[in-house]
């Protein structure tokens, strides 16, 4: 097991390297940029205070992301507790892309969460699986189903918008 100081250095490194991803995760839940920055700071404060509770099962990034989600949800459960099924993620600025906002809102809670973590927080399938506590295959399947749904709404118009 890593020594405490080494783990703090790892946490600090993730803070510096992955700050944007953590903020994006928080924005989806709190839907306010400043509040999301505060959530990430609070989450890292908690993570550092309980750095020795991480059992090195899975990645440190996923463990931190779960703390960020818990803080954003205003929860005090330990990081190892399962996350709620519905994280209530929404687009922070739905007016900027009403079509995407509608398409995302029509997805089931799980599909919406997976799409959000994949395309907004830019997390890998493996990392999403760790965060949500489900199998990678389940994440891939959920993502594929979500994309099938989104394709119906965004397909032609999405291509137009990109031209």
């Amino acid at each position: 097991m890593l020594e405490s100081s080494a783990r703090v250095r790892q946490i600090e490194r993730l803070y510096r390297d992955r700050y944007s991803a953590f903020v994006r995760i928080a924005i989806g839940i709190v839907r306010d940029t400043d509040a999301a920055h505060d959530v990430v700071h609070e989450a890292f404060t908690r993570a550092l205070a309980s750095a020795n509770t991480w059992r090195e099962e899975g990645s440190l990034e996923a463990w931190l992301a779960r703390i960020v989600i818990r803080v954003a949800l205003d929860g005090n459960d330990p990081a190892t507790a399962p996350l709620p099924e519905d994280l209530s993620v929404r687009l922070p600025f739905p007016d900027r892309d009403p079509l995407l906002a509608t398409a995302i809102a029509n997805l089931s809670s799980r599909r919406r969460t997976v799409v959000f973590l994949r395309y907004y927080a830019d997390l890998s399938v493996e990392r999403i699986a760790e965060i949500l506590g489900i199998a990678e295959g389940t994440v891939s399947a959920t993502l594929a189903q979500a994309k099938d749904e989104l394709r119906l709404v965004l397909g032609p118009e999405g291509k137009e918008a990109r031209r």
């Binding site: 703090v8 946490i11 600090e12 803070y15 510096r16 390297d17 700050y19 944007s20 903020v23 994006r24 924005i27 940029t33 400043d34 920055h37 505060d38 700071h41 890292f44 404060t45 550092l48 205070a49 687009l91 922070p92 600025f93 900027r96 892309d97 995407l100 799409v115 395309y119 907004y120 830019d122 994309k147 989104l150 394709r151 965004l154 397909g155 999405g158 291509k159 918008a161 990109r162």
Partner: protein
């Protein structure tokens, strides 16, 4: 084979970022360095020696320059304004003439929380390093230091000096120095207590004492307990509740209670340099945003203007160095000048150029 929907979704989700996050995201944290052959280094070193010799000769022969004097407009407005877009674009404005020009500045590959302020005769800011430029803007910005470990918190200290505090993610300060704003030379070092970040309520990440009392924020100059914005002397701003703001001047110990307008949403608190007032923006729902002034002697609040800002602008405020004028930059990048005594109606100085990326983050003025 790549699914075009993947690209489309990434593109659409990228549109959900705010300017700060976009700017933070668009640059990788580290850029790979290309290895150059040894001969290239030798050639570069030889050229450097020749160049340095030439510079020494030229500088030795050149008479000392005096910085250009700022012009003054018909109402007596003068001074300089430094405006920052997103993370790495600066525009300098001569307030008297309204002329503006981009500041030559090569951004580093990483960025941290922005903060710019005026100290002595220098504009100082931070990104992945600490930068300084003379407020006459006669020379290019000079990099005082790279960021060390963790985050770097910059705070104004005495005129002409700044505090540099290296932070870890939990907000604990690992080192703190008072350095000269012109050269970065260390004036003083001290070992600070632990603290942690709180909200960026005053446009800058602040430290909270470890006891968790939101009203007391540790100041890096030692035993003092609070620092929010010491442009006007060390002031601590605390929301007692949604409509009551407590302002404490640490130099005098004087506390002023300010009853805020009933909209419940305020921001951009900007102390006047002489400490007698704090300008802020009221954000009423569905109505035009209003610029207000809280008097620090009486605690009363006066609406300075409700016409300059629309319902959807995120303004940036800055006082001129003499505290005579309040500068307001609206969403259309127009620089407005407001008279806190309301004897001169609001007027515009200039409209700033369109930035390459992002919105205006902050501005600071010098006398």
């Amino acid at each position: 084979m790549t699914d075009p929907l993947d690209d489309d979704l990434r593109h659409r989700f990228a549109g959900q970022d705010d300017a700060r996050l976009s700017a933070r995201y668009r640059r990788p944290l580290s850029r790979g360095r290309r290895r150059r052959p040894a001969s290239a280094w030798l050639t570069a070193a030889a050229l450097l020696v020749v160049l340095a010799t030439a510079v020494v000769v030229v500088v030795a022969r050149r008479p000392p320059e005096s910085p250009p004097n700022p012009t003054s407009d018909a109402r007596g407005l003068s001074g300089r304004l430094l405006v920052r877009y997103a993370v790495d674009e600066f525009v300098r404005v001569d307030l008297g003439s309204g002329s503006s020009a981009p500041l030559p500045y090569e951004p580093p590959p990483t960025d941290v929380f922005p903060a710019i302020f005026h100290s002595g005769n220098r504009f100082v800011w931070q990104d992945a390093g600490v930068w300084s430029v003379d407020d006459a803007l006669a020379t290019p910005p000079a990099r005082l230091s790279p960021v060390g470990v963790g985050q770097e918190l910059l705070l104004p200290a005495t005129p002409g000096t700044i505090w540099r505090v290296a932070q870890y993610p939990d907000g604990s300060a690992r080192s703190a120095y008072r350095v000269r704003a012109d050269s970065g030379a260390v004036v003083e070092r001290f070992d600070p207590p632990r603290g942690r970040f709180i909200t960026a309520a005053w446009g800058r990440k602040l430290l909270l004492r470890e006891n968790g009392d939101r009203g007391t924020i540790w100041t890096p100059d030692g035993p003092s307990e609070v620092l929010a914005d010491n442009v006007a002397g060390p002031l601590a701003l605390t929301f007692v509740n949604s409509s009551l703001l407590r302002v404490r001047n640490l130099d005098t110990g004087r506390t002023t209670q300010v009853s805020l307008p009933p909209s419940g949403q305020y921001g951009k608190f900007t102390p006047r340099p002489d400490g007698t007032a704090i300008a802020f923006v009221e954000f009423p729902k569905g109505a035009s945003r209003r610029i207000a002034l809280a008097d620090m002697r009486s605690g009363s609040v006066r609406i300075l203007d409700s016409a300059v800002l629309g319902t959807n602008s995120e303004p940036v405020l800055a006082w001129t160095g003499d505290g005579r004028w309040l500068l307001v930059i609206d969403a259309a990048r127009t620089v407005w000048v407001l008279d806190p005594t309301a004897s001169v109606p609001p007027h515009t100085v200039t409209t700033l150029p369109q930035p390459t990326v992002g919105d205006i983050l902050e501005a600071v003025a010098a006398g």
